[in-house]
């Protein structure tokens, strides 16, 4: 019986051709938005959190305020220094700590110069191991920088092609950093962090000499003995540094970030984006639903006579109700299927373009069958709900009134 109602409903949806398509438009825009966003959402999350790959779960990052974005060092008045390092190292629960510099430098190769990020690898065995641990990189060509590799440089994966310099960059060649010669000993594998792909690494000593600085650092990374206590260690470090610097609570010139904090701030941003887009999608679905309701109302008016005939030949009120509800449901369903396909296609397309533009394979799209099924069922439901009132109206039509035209 239900199958027959479907056939009937499908017939009249098809019969109205263009109008049915237009009605479905609202639904499929909404569904496409939801599906593409959620499909991409996971990939987006992986990609963005990948940027924080440098932060392992047992490491705290202490940095001067204002160094989160852009080249650090340019905006900050008071630098982290050896005194801070000592305080951090002496804090209970801190296993070891290492300083990092992240700056911008002029890199020249094949007579083309380019500004690029540069960071340092400590000259100590322990320090370099810790840095490598935390940034998690491997050499694709050559090798990683050793603690005593003064005068040598390792470059991020983006440099390999030598695109910007008009010549391929290879291990063994020489580049100039701020005019000084450095031998390339390695090129890194592609990393999940975009920053690392474009970085040059030298030893701490070389970088300090190049920049002509001493006893100033952009970041101190502290490894804790017990991962469970990372929050309280972070609080201790914050207290001690504040006291040492004579600063008030809330007015610190530095910040101590736990990996969870940085991750959660990213997650928060992603969630906000999600909420906004899902909100827009919901509005679109609402409008789509109203569109369906509107179409169904017009349909009821236009087909009064048909309803009368159906009733005359034995259709009960509930038969008429079912036919109209299913018809509205079908509008939602087909809209949902098309929307889901468009959403999926959109997500794949965007990730393809984004990956091409960024030169990574970060933005992965995962097709989720439950999501698609959910979205399609939801749009069917939107259709059914929107069609309910018009269908009730149709079913209650008086036969004689309906037949009279």
């Amino acid at each position: 019986m239900i199958k027959d109602y479907f056939t009937l409903a499908l017939g009249s949806v098809r019969h109205r051709g263009l109008r049915s398509w237009l009605t479905m438009l609202g639904v499929f825009i909404g569904i496409a938005a939801v599906v593409s966003l959620i499909t991409m959402g996971q990939g987006l999350k992986t990609a963005v959190t990948g940027q924080f790959g440098a932060l392992s779960v047992d490491k705290l990052t202490i940095q001067n305020k204002g160094t989160s974005f852009g080249p650090p060092g340019s905006t900050v008045v008071e630098k982290l220094n050896d005194r801070d390092l000592r305080i951090i190292k002496e804090t209970r629960g801190v296993d070891k700590a290492v300083t990092r510099l992240i700056r911008v430098i002029n890199l020249e190769y094949n007579k083309v110069s380019e500004f690029t990020y540069i960071s340092d690898i400590p000259n100590t065995q322990e320090g370099s191991k810790m840095v490598y641990d935390s940034i998690n990189v491997k050499a694709k060509e050559g090798r990683l920088l050793r603690p005593d590799d003064n005068g040598k440089v390792v470059l991020g994966n983006n440099f390999e092609s030598g695109e910007k310099f008009g010549r391929k960059i290879q291990v063994g060649k020489t580049i100039q950093l701020n005019g000084k010669d450095f031998e390339i000993v390695g090129i890194l594998e592609k990393s999940s962090s975009l920053q690392l792909n474009g970085v040059a690494l030298t030893t701490t000593k070389d970088l300090e000499d190049l920049l002509n600085i001493k006893n100033e650092y952009d970041i101190i990374i502290a490894e804790v003995t017990d991962q469970e206590e990372i929050e309280s260690v972070a609080a201790d470090i914050e207290n001690r540094l504040r006291k040492d610097r004579n600063e008030k609570i809330g007015e610190e010139s530095f910040s101590v970030q736990t990996p969870i904090e940085s991750l959660s701030s990213v997650t928060t941003i992603l969630n906000i984006v999600n909420v906004v887009v899902v909100g827009i999608a919901m509005i679109s679905l609402l409008v789509g639903g109203i569109g369906i309701a509107n179409t169904m109302y017009t349909s009821v008016i236009e087909r009064r006579k048909q309803i009368g005939v159906m009733k005359a030949v034995g259709a009960r009120n509930k038969d008429v109700l079912m036919v109209f509800v299913i018809e509205a449901g079908l509008l939602g369903l087909v809209g949902g299927i098309i929307g889901a396909l468009i959403g999926l296609g959109g997500a794949l397309g965007i990730s393809l373009i984004a990956n091409q533009a960024l030169g990574t394979t970060l933005l992965k799209v995962s097709v989720s069958i439950p999501l698609l099924m959910g979205a399609i069922s939801f749009s069917f439901l939107v259709g059914v709900l929107s069609g309910l009132l018009p269908a009730v109206q149709a079913s209650k039509l008086n036969v004689v009134d309906a037949l009279r035209n």
Partner: protein
């Protein structure tokens, strides 16, 4: 109270409210339709003949009085029971054909059976049989707008037959047809009547009524003015006492 009594209207009235005024479309009508009869309900427009047909066909409810269909009082039935009964016992043919435009000829014929819960195979079988009966087998996949008026009305006749009803109610069945196709349609109805179906037609055409019907009810201003029966090719008035009884 003959045993063959199929439809009986007892003191039936139908009033419509038109703002303040009450229009009496039918007033105290009594009539009995027997099984196997070919009835014509006649009268000028506004005489109440359409109302009479709607009530007889259980499409509408009376304001007063009782309507019996196979000795069951339809005024006591729920709307849903009424729909079921109507679908099973009465086949409708309309002046405007009233086929569903987005269904093919065959699907239109299958429709009444769907509401009786008949299986698809059976519906198709029956529809094909009926298409053959109305000589439209080659048009089964055509939509109403691809058929001529006469063909549409034949599809409508086939549809009215779908559930093997005892009664076929036709409201001006030839009203939208030229005389030649109209005649053909009437011949089909005659054939059905010969197979012991009760046919009720509503018409304003006296020639048509006299040619095909066996009983003619003439209505005027909501009351039955006369009842005539065909006895051996001549018409005999039998109405006088009925009219009095009703008034």
């Amino acid at each position: 109270m003959t045993p063959d009594k199929l439809i009986e209207l007892k003191n039936v009235a139908k009033y419509y409210e038109m703002g303040e005024a009450i229009v009496k479309a039918l007033d105290s009508v009594n009539l009995v339709i027997e099984k196997g009869d070919f009835v014509a309900i006649m009268g000028p427009s506004g005489s109440g003949k359409s109302t009479a047909m709607n009530l007889t066909g259980s499409l509408d409810r009376a304001t007063k009085g009782d309507i019996f269909l196979s000795n069951e009082n339809i005024e006591e039935m729920t709307e849903s029971e009424l729909a079921q009964l109507r679908g099973k016992k009465i086949g409708f043919i309309f002046q405007q054909f009233n086929l569903i435009p987005n269904l093919t000829a065959k699907e239109n014929i299958m429709l009444p059976m769907l509401f009786q819960g008949i299986s698809k195979n059976e519906r198709e079988r029956k529809a094909e049989e009926l298409l053959k009966l109305v000589e439209l087998t080659d048009r089964e996949g055509h939509y109403p707008n691809q058929l001529s008026g006469g063909q549409q009305q034949r599809v409508a006749i086939a549809r009215s037959m779908a559930n093997d009803p005892e009664i076929i109610l036709a409201d001006e069945p030839t009203g939208n047809l030229d005389s030649k196709t109209g005649k053909k349609v009437m011949e089909f109805l005659k054939k059905l009547n010969e197979k012991n179906r009760t046919i009720i037609i509503v018409t304003h055409d006296p020639n048509l009524a006299r040619e095909y019907a066996k009983t003619i009810y003439s209505l005027r201003d909501g009351v039955i003015e006369s009842v005539e029966r065909k006895v051996k090719n001549s018409w005999k008035k039998v109405s006088e006492e009925k009219k009095k009884k009703g008034g």
